[in-house]
């Protein structure tokens, strides 16, 4: 059974239609890359799937692991195993990473019918996952993302993903603006977390990330829907030729 099935999804923000009949199926164990020019609807897709109420879904269906995703509140989606790595992670002064993660892990474990972790096991989990993304030792006490560099914020997203162990993770331009070292750390974190049971949707502008996280499928999103799908060779082609040839082809059609 597929993990995520999106059928004819339409969504708008304020009065602007952004997604116009978006379709996608993701199976466990797969990595899908979604590429596309600015304004094509990539981040809208991520926001809509995570449950951001600024976006209005005007049509279509989303099935997530047998359940109607669009009926769920953002926290229910998270508890069911959906994770969004934000393009622009939010700074939350005064809330420490450790308190934040303790609350989040407790909610998710409760939902899965697991016993709460005791303090020792929780800290051990923090330590293990922190090392995965090479975050420095004093992360726990620091306020969430406050004063973090761009790279640290993105690594913190991957760290949170590792802590919450989702079935489906959506990475919204996690690579944008990263130097090569940070990119390598982020990618290797993702690769270590990848199993045959979970799946990733990697939204990106740049083919560079896909050298490190190798996708099973590459989709081109343009004007609110997928206009082309292929394998990783499609990403290379896009890198070389840009998006204009696709736009031209569509204009001719």
């Amino acid at each position: 059974m597929s993990l995520l099935t999106i059928k004819n999804l339409n969504a708008r923000v304020e009065d602007k239609e952004i997604l116009k009949g978006f379709n996608l199926t993701v199976n466990p164990g797969e990595v899908h890359a979604i590429m596309g020019p600015n304004g094509s609807g990539k981040s809208t897709l991520a926001s809509v799937l995570a449950g951001n109420e600024s976006y209005e879904v005007t049509g279509g269906e989303v099935d997530f692991d047998g359940k109607n995703l669009l009926d769920m509140a953002p926290e229910e989606r998270a508890r069911e195993g959906l994770f969004l790595a934000f393009q622009y992670p939010i700074e939350i002064p005064g809330v420490s990473n450790v308190n934040f993660m303790r609350s989040a892990v407790a909610e998710i474990r409760k939902h899965r019918g697991l016993e709460p972790l005791d303090a020792k096991d929780f800290l051990a989990l923090m330590k293990e996952k922190k090392e995965l993304v090479e975050l420095s030792g004093n992360l726990a006490g620091r306020s969430v993302n406050e004063g973090f560099s761009g790279g640290e914020k993105k690594r913190n997203e991957i760290f949170q993903m590792a802590m919450l162990d989702p079935k489906l993770a959506i990475l919204d331009e996690t690579d944008s603006g990263l130097d090569i070292d940070a990119l390598r750390i982020v990618a290797s974190g993702v690769n270590k977390l990848k199993t045959k049971d979970n799946a990733f949707i990697v939204i990106t502008h740049y083919q560079r990330l896909l050298d490190h996280i190798v996708p099973d499928f590459v989709h081109v999103l343009y004007n609110g829907k997928i206009v082309r799908s292929g394998t990783k060779e499609l990403a290379l082609e896009l890198e070389e030729k840009g998006y204009d040839w696709i736009k031209e082809e569509l204009a001719e059609a």
Binding site: A73, P74, E75, G94, A104
Partner: protein, 416 residues
């Protein structure tokens, strides 16, 4: 002014004055001041949003309470507790090494020496009417390791008016921590507790004075008048949790060089509550620092008032003055009136002030929800973070934890 004329001002303002007034210089001065001012109405700049006169117009009768034994609701270790009921103090005062604890009336020259009874109307009324003040004198060089808890239960019936009074003296080189807890759940909304604390912090002395105010439906007015001498450190934290009307006047005079003072407040309002904090810091001498952070969360139809003034006098060069007031409104019907003020007459100072009033950061709430926290959990986490800058100024972790719990409890009530 004749004695008859001045007496009449008290009987004009409140009932039950007969036999209350000790005729001494202090009370005469207070009455003379009141005869000129009366009780301030909303036309008075300092009382623009808080109608205390209405309580007087509605009728208040002076009461003298009897002390009734009650245990503290703040379960703090290593604490010496002194009980009060309304204006009455327990007759079992504790014996503390290096500290004098005793009762005094208006004839004691220690009382009123800040001059507050000739500056503020409600403090003047308190001075004319209080029977016995609790005096705590921490003697020279005493470093008190225990915290002194003033456990004041407020239980006032309709139209009752009580006047309680405390004097705290921390002598040169001494240090102390106090928690003054005003609490009560059975107060009439037509009653008033009018409290005055005078504070003297000696040279190189330290004092942390924490207020916790939760009096249900009642009305509470406090005046805290503080004088600090050189090289001293005075911190005050005020946590306001419930009351129909809570008004705090806090005045701090920095009378020597190299004084550090911190004023922090956190208030949480719901329903029709009105909490009002007026603070005034006088920088009189060079090289002093004042830090002020007041923060609040307002829900329901509540109204908050913050008026903070930092006054840097001409001689107070090299002053560092920092003041901020931040508010989160959880309801469209809640109102915050914030007025930070700086008045500077010295030319070599560093001062800043700011005020923000807004809603909870919706993006942050969403971010937390995408990690599995529900809306209430996310809100509670953000609000407790907002409060933490103030709460962290309280040195007792135990007290902080209790207050955090009280804040969470009130928040849960707001959701209902």
């Amino acid at each position: 002014m004749s004695e008859i004329a001045t007496k009449s001002i008290l009987t004009e303002l409140v009932s039950g004055v007969e036999g209350q007034v000790a005729s001494c210089k202090l009370s005469q001065e207070a009455e003379a001041f009141l005869a000129k001012t009366g009780i301030p109405s909303k036309r008075h700049e300092n009382w623009k949003y808080t109608n205390i006169k209405r309580l007087f117009d509605n009728g208040l009768t002076v009461v003298n309470s009897a002390y009734s034994v009650h245990t503290s609701e703040l379960n703090l270790a290593n604490t010496i507790s002194i009980g009060l009921t309304n204006d009455a103090v327990t007759n079992k005062l504790p014996t503390i090494n290096g500290v004098d604890v005793f009762m005094a009336d208006g004839k004691t020259e220690l009382l009123g020496s800040t001059g507050i009874h000739q500056k503020e109307e409600l403090a003047a009324l308190n001075t004319a009417l209080f029977q016995n003040a609790l005096v705590i004198r921490v003697k020279k060089g005493t470093e008190l390791s225990s915290t002194i808890l003033l456990n004041q239960r407020v239980e006032l019936e309709a139209n009752s008016f009580a006047n309680s009074r405390v004097l705290i003296i921390v002598e040169d080189g001494a240090s102390a921590k106090l928690v003054h807890h005003f609490h009560g759940t059975k107060n009439s909304d037509s009653s008033l507790l009018n409290h005055v604390t005078e504070v003297f912090v000696g040279q190189n002395a330290r004092l942390e004075l924490n207020y916790v105010q939760e009096i249900g439906e009642g009305n509470l007015m406090t005046t805290t008048e503080v004088e600090c001498q050189r090289d001293s450190n005075f911190t005050t934290n005020c946590i306001q949790l419930s009351g129909k009307l809570l008004r705090n006047n806090l005045n701090i005079r920095l009378k020597g060089e190299n004084i550090e003072t911190h004023l922090n407040g956190f208030y949480m309002l719901n329903g029709k509550e009105l909490f009002d904090n007026h603070t005034h810091v006088d920088h009189l001498e060079p090289h002093c620092e004042s830090n002020e952070i007041y923060r609040g969360i307002l829900a329901g139809n509540s109204t908050g008032v913050f008026n903070g003034k930092v006054f840097v006098h001409r001689d107070a060069q090299k002053t560092n003055g920092y003041q901020s007031n931040n508010n989160i409104l959880l309801s469209d019907d809640a109102t915050m009136n914030s007025k930070p003020e700086l008045e500077i007459y010295a030319d070599d100072v560093r001062c800043s002030h700011g005020s923000t009033t807004g809603q909870l950061d919706e993006e942050a709430v969403f971010y937390l929800r995408t990690r599995g926290l529900d809306e209430f959990g996310a809100t509670a986490l953000l609000l407790s973070a907002f409060a933490s800058d103030v709460l962290n100024a309280i040195s007792s972790e135990e007290l902080r934890t209790i207050l955090e719990q009280k804040i969470q409890d009130k928040l849960k009530g707001m959701r209902a």
